[in-house]
């Protein structure tokens, strides 16, 4: 999920702790801040610290003016071959920055059935990943590099590289003799484990045991939320060495699940602080509250969206680039 969803989930966890609400009523915001920080901390560790120190055996940084898809395809194929020979190999495919807000998009497809890697350069996109018209390079060949190894894909077969930091991969031969592809090996690994959450909770317990409960709860809710996606997390590091498979219920960037999670969290926080009022001026039940604040508005939103999309035959406009390798 997106950062804001994790962040507010951490705050929500704190709001479920009566001592946090009581402290807040007395002017102490510490538990809520702690919940917010712990809620987003796993991603902060990965994206703001760990990834800069993660070493890659092969790095491919294409020059903006010398687009050579064959070099990229060969590098991926080489990484697969090295892994097949028994050497765990990490590969980084860097993004190609053209300007302050312009990036050259390219796609890499690893096709296990054909035993080949296909790479092709695509349009220039903005940081919002929106393609610019008439920006496809000419000529635009598809580079192919063959490999001879059975592949086990844990993520998706086609990788799109465009904005900010390009993706990393770890290729490793498993016990079944297949080459496993680990997408973003530095992400959702040790930082996204319940054990690290427990460790940080232990540190927080130096202050109070209540703080440790907030930290552990907020950290764990992040891991659980991520588990609903495709990539999964390394749940019990260092006991487990690799990520458990995600439930594949959503993609982390999907708008509706993110928005729904944020809104639900806001409502739960509201309810929890309402429940913390000794003698409330207004009285309402949880069911009635959720009906008014979530069920009815979402039903209306759904109906209105259906109506406004009727002219487009019910399909939302998509900005994803219509090309494939």
């Amino acid at each position: 999920m997106k950062g804001i969803a994790h962040f507010i989930s951490g705050v929500t966890v704190a709001s479920f702790c009566p001592w946090a609400v009581e402290a807040a009523q007395n002017g102490n915001p510490a538990y809520f801040i702690l919940g917010a920080v712990a809620g987003i901390l796993p991603d902060t560790i990965d994206f703001k610290f760990y990834r800069f120190f993660y070493k890659h055996d092969i790095r491919i940084e294409s020059h903006p003016d010398q687009l050579d898809p064959q070099r990229v395809a060969d590098a991926v194929s080489k990484a697969v071959s090295l892994a097949m020979e028994g050497k765990r190999t990490t590969l980084k495919l860097a993004s190609i920055k053209l300007g302050a807000d312009d990036w050259r998009q390219y796609r890499v497809k690893i096709d296990p059935e054909a035993g080949e890697v296909r790479v092709q350069f695509g349009p220039i996109v903005s940081t919002g990943q929106v393609p610019q018209p008439n920006s496809l390079p000419e000529p635009r060949p598809v580079a192919i590099a063959k490999f001879d190894a059975p592949i086990l894909q844990n993520y998706e077969p086609t990788y799109t590289i465009d904005i900010f930091d390009g993706p990393s991969f770890a290729f490793k031969r498993n016990e079944a003799g297949q080459v496993e592809i680990d997408f973003l090996p530095w992400h959702r690994n040790w930082s996204h484990s319940l054990t690290v959450g427990a460790f940080l909770a232990g540190i927080a317990s130096i202050w109070t045991w209540q703080a440790s409960v907030v930290v552990f709860g907020a950290y764990v809710i992040h891991v659980i939320e991520d588990q609903m996606g495709h990539m999964g997390s390394n749940l019990f590091f260092p006991i487990t060495k690799k990520r458990s498979k995600g439930l594949k219920m959503m993609h982390s960037g999907d708008a509706l699940p993110n928005f729904s999670a944020v809104w639900l969290c806001c409502l739960l926080i509201f309810w929890n602080v309402y429940a913390g009022i000794g003698n409330p001026l207004y009285h309402f039940t949880f069911v009635r509250f959720m009906m008014y604040a979530m069920v009815i508005p979402f039903a209306i939103f759904g109906a209105v969206r259906w109506l406004v999309m009727l002219p487009d035959r019910g399909h939302p406009e998509s900005l994803s680039t219509e090309w494939n390798v």
């Binding site: 997106k2 920055k97 602080v273």
Partner: protein, 442 residues
């Protein structure tokens, strides 16, 4: 009475049209001056009726909140609530689509006005007093959580290339560090302005103006002047490439962000814009731009509207605080007067958006962009000097120094909001005075 009120709101909106195009001038400064004028008239025995000055003031706020998109996008001189529109807006401008970008934000503003009038207004008297009653003891930690969010969610822009190691780490953290530094320095400035207010008390309503102008508007003007950007030929399109779904999505994103900023104290339109961008994971630039238009209008106009909601007794935003000194709304009649005024002012200002944008583009065609930016800079400096004097200019200069950090390092400009967020959050949690004392300000 209706005819008089309509004339007043139209007058306020038309005046706002011209004021909105002047970069750096905030409508609250004008409202402050208008209030001083009303007091002066009262001193002469001429009493202005609320049915005249309330719609007039509402016209000012609504007109300005819709039309200040023009200097933000075309002149790159935003107020704080519009900072997120500058970069995508300038991208539209630099690809010859400045008109389209401006009108898209304008369409968002119209959506925001529809939301306020047709969705928020009917339910506000029933539900908002409950929300206020429940959340009032919790405002302080909500503010702290927002500060935490601003500081923790900045994305490192560097560190994407090269071998792993400290060099890569420091490359990435140069932007993040600049962001943290900006927030810290702004917060320090905020403490200084709050506890050792250098601007005279007589300059009521204007004391924060030089700091905001220096933090948000001047760095952009300077950048425009120094960068020497050449604005390409601009194209006017008859239609905008948007549909109902995009409008709906931007309405939800911007409505929530702007609504949040309007309801909670100290949270400003810029924060509303940030939340609008994050909450719905919007990638589409058009949705982003429109959501910023929604957020801006919902923040300014919504905060003023809340002042009139019967039974709510909530004063949010500079406009409402200025009006509070003049009038206390009591009846449903006041609420309906405010809603009617918002509707008329909103409709008129949206209709004026297209001709005013075209006029500004024509001006830009004739006059070099750098000269316009220089002229804008001159207006800002003259305004600050005329309202707050040399001390205001000094505060503005210091603020500009802080405001330039994010511009130069590519970090988030919203960090400048530390000027308000940090001292107020500290005060709300009861630690403001000890910190001010530690800083030697007491």
């Amino acid at each position: 009475m209706i005819f008089t009120a309509t004339l007043a709101v139209l007058a306020g909106t038309v005046l706002a049209c011209f004021l909105a195009i002047l970069p750096g001038l905030h409508i609250y400064n004008v409202m402050g001056l208008a209030v001083l004028l009303i007091y002066w008239l009262q001193g002469l025995g001429i009493a202005a009726a609320p049915e005249i000055y309330l719609p007039f003031m509402i016209g000012l706020v609504v007109g300005w909140s819709v039309l200040n998109t023009i200097p933000s996008v075309l002149l790159g001189a935003p107020d704080e609530s519009a900072i997120f529109t500058v970069l995508p807006g300038q991208k539209y401008l630099m690809t010859g689509r400045g008109y389209e970008g401006t009108m898209m934000i304008g369409a968002g503003s119209l959506v925001g006005l529809y939301m306020l009038i047709f969705i928020v207004a009917p339910f506000a008297p029933k539900f908002l007093p409950i929300a206020r009653n429940v959340l009032t003891p919790h405002m302080h930690w909500i503010l702290w959580v927002i500060i935490t969010f601003i500081l923790m969610t900045e994305w490192p822009k560097g560190g994407n290339w090269g071998p792993a190691g400290w060099r890569k780490f420091f490359d990435a953290w140069s932007t993040l560090g600049a962001g943290l530094l900006t927030f810290g320095l702004s917060g320090l400035l905020g403490f200084l302005l709050l506890y050792r207010a250098p601007i005279a008390v007589e300059d009521a309503f204007q004391n924060i103006m030089p700091a905001f102008v220096g933090l948000f508007a001047i760095p952009w003007c300077l950048l425009n002047v120094l960068s020497g950007a050449v604005v390409p030929k601009q194209y006017i399109r008859d239609t905008l490439n948007i549909n109902g779904d995009l409008l709906l999505r931007s309405g939800i994103a911007g409505g929530i962000g702007g609504g949040f900023a309007a309801f909670f104290p100290v949270v400003t339109g810029g924060v509303g814009g940030l939340l609008a961008g994050h909450a719905t994971a919007q990638r589409d630039e058009r949705v982003f731009l429109m959501s910023q238009g929604v957020s801006k209008v919902v923040y300014y106009t919504g905060a003023l509207m809340l002042f009139f909601v019967p039974g709510l007794f909530l004063t949010r935003g500079g406009g409402a605080w200025i009006l509070k000194g003049l009038y206390t709304p009591r009846t449903l009649g006041d609420y309906y007067l405010a809603l009617g005024s918002i509707a008329i002012a909103g409709g008129l200002s949206f209709l004026l958006m297209s001709p005013l944008t075209k006029w500004t583009l024509k001006l830009m065609k004739k006059v070099d962009y750098r000269i316009i930016s220089l002229f804008a800079l001159g207006i800002i400096i003259v305004l600050v000097y005329s309202i707050t004097g040399w001390v205001g200019l000094f505060v503005m200069t210091v603020s500009t120094g802080i405001g330039l950090i994010p511009v130069l390092f590519g970090s988030r400009r919203l960090n400048c909001l530390g000027v308000l967020l940090l001292p107020i959050a500290c005060n709300m949690s009861g630690i403001g005075e000890p910190i001010a004392s530690f800083l030697g300000l007491l």
